[in-house]
Symmetry: none
Subunit: 295 residues, 2 copies
DNA sequence: GAAAAGCTGTATCAGAAATTTCATCACGTG
DNA sequence: CACGTGATGAAATTTCTGATACAGCTTTTC
């Protein structure tokens, strides 16, 4: 089950940025604050954000029209229309030759920590997806979509945040959802009402935390169904878990990456939301309404 | 602003929408001679020919401007700008999902939901990395590596979990790190000691939360440096933020994906840990020792 | 072959968009 | 603390674009 991590196969290199975007990134330092706003908007929606009108662009960037003009002037264009023309031409060139995207992949030079890190994380995600048994995933979706079940999320030092993230979404989609703190003193008394109808979803990666393990073992002993999201080395919780979804976590860092776990979490949320849509939609609308009134 | 809209737009399946080009081809017979010239020009340089001005388009097609206008009217658009808007949106949709149109990816058979979701998330991560200015990222790393600064993390309903995740890591790497709950009643009193030496790192994506915005505005007013991790549409916090790191969040789900934000968070943790390694290492060892004793 | 119907282009207009001007503001400096 | 510099946006200004009315031309039809 454990496949080697040496998977730096092909993977279409992060598409080479067209010249203007690149130049903007390089010059980012020298921009004034509002120019940075403009630059961010443009880069985040490159290049479509620039195809709108000046007014639209300005409003979306949260700056004034003149600032937008100064921005494009500083980029070396004679005016906004000229700037737009450049964007269109760049876009056309890029779209017409899909090969151009491969481009000069000399990014090893200026693409620093972030790009390398992202590459590793993306590799983790791909490896994670490939090694999840579809049936296992579907089984978990079905379990979490059962309205008669009560769902409890929990996790360790770092993964606790993921459990919270999951809980905050599922809480809206369905009822009987809660979060259990890791420390035993905080859950001991709550365990008495956990039984066959309950599902415990635990997040736990290496440096497995004993208290999370203890929680799951107790829950399992009382008949609860345990679902485990962990790393490929499998937390000891796997022994009592009905379903296990492993995610790759190794990254060029002193820390492990939880991106794979987040991916699984979000995919579960998406799938369950879809499956329960008839009942989830009214719930989501109601939540939205309450938020509106509350302020 | 407009955060009251529920996203139940049933994200129509990735079935190719009837492209405008296709419709034009079908209707070609019914066009008048000059309309045909317009149609041919548009199809031959689709869709870029349509992004120019009416005058330019007319001249390139060898017809008059009014004929161009009549052409777009006949296509069912209310005016030339509306026509252009349609072209841009079509183009954007097509460009953003280069994978979707790559034909029937055979894996749709196997693990549909999860694989499709992963594909979208990976696309988000790539887009996110490409649109972050290295200088901006480095600036944030430097800021968070300054031992004299005090770092406060905060976030909204769902992103709060990411803030916690960040906090739980940075807390170990360095000192003066904490998490601030979103609700104003919980932070009002804490704000008195936030000033020039403080850095507020806020996570906020669409359906931006007013209380998080308020927190950041207050902090900024008192001289704190605000760092914002948000979506490409930029939370209103961007107005008061010194640094903004946008992440792509759109996924085939009723919910947005925070994977890009997590990627940035983890990359920041990795970079800061590396930069502060001399002081971080002893801290991490000390934490490990305490955990061991405690059990 | 003439009248009707349908296209098309010229000239013009209204309005929107880009640009410039200028007063104000924030911030660092002497 | 006054001063100067640079950034910024509101408003005035200019430019240009999309839209329209109308007249000429072509094609159709009887």
């Amino acid at each position: 089950m454990n496949q080697s991590d040496m998977r730096d196969e092909h993977r279409p290199p992060l598409t080479a940025p067209p010249s203007l975007a690149e130049r903007i990134r390089l010059d980012m330092d020298s921009f004034t604050p509002s120019e940075k706003r403009a630059a961010h908007l443009l880069l985040s929606h490159y290049p479509f954000a620039g195809l709108d009108t000046v007014a639209e662009f300005a409003s979306r960037a949260g700056i004034s029209a003149p600032s937008v003009l100064r921005f494009v002037t500083r980029l070396g264009f004679g005016g906004f229309p000229e700037f737009q023309k450049h964007l269109r031409e760049e876009l056309e060139a890029q779209l017409l030759s899909p090969l151009a995207k491969a481009g000069p992949s000399d990014k090893s030079q200026n693409a620093p920590a972030l790009a390398a890190f992202a590459e590793a994380v993306i590799g983790n995600l791909q490896a994670t997806v490939e090694n999840i048994a579809p049936a296992e995933f579907e089984a978990v979706v079905a379990l979490l979509s059962d309205p008669r079940r009560h769902i409890h999320f929990t996790g360790g030092r770092f993964t606790g945040a993921l459990a919270r993230y999951a809980e905050s979404h599922f809480r809206i989609v369905r009822s009987h959802v809660d979060f259990i703190e890791g420390q035993p003193v905080l859950w001991r008394d709550r365990m008495i009402e956990i039984g066959r109808k309950d599902v415990v979803v635990a997040f736990d990666i290496r440096r497995y935390q004993e208290d999370v393990t203890a929680l799951c073992e107790t829950a399992a002993r009382q008949g609860a169904t345990v679902v485990l999201l962990t790393d490929p080395w499998l937390s000891p919780i796997a022994r009592v878990a009905r379903h296990v979804l492993p995610a790759h976590i190794v990254a060029p860092s002193n820390w492990d990456s939880s991106a794979g776990l987040l991916l699984l979490t979000e995919a579960l949320v998406a799938a369950v939301t879809k499956r329960l849509w008839d009942s989830a939609k009214p719930r989501m609308e109601a939540v939205e309404r309450l938020r509106g009134e509350q302020r």
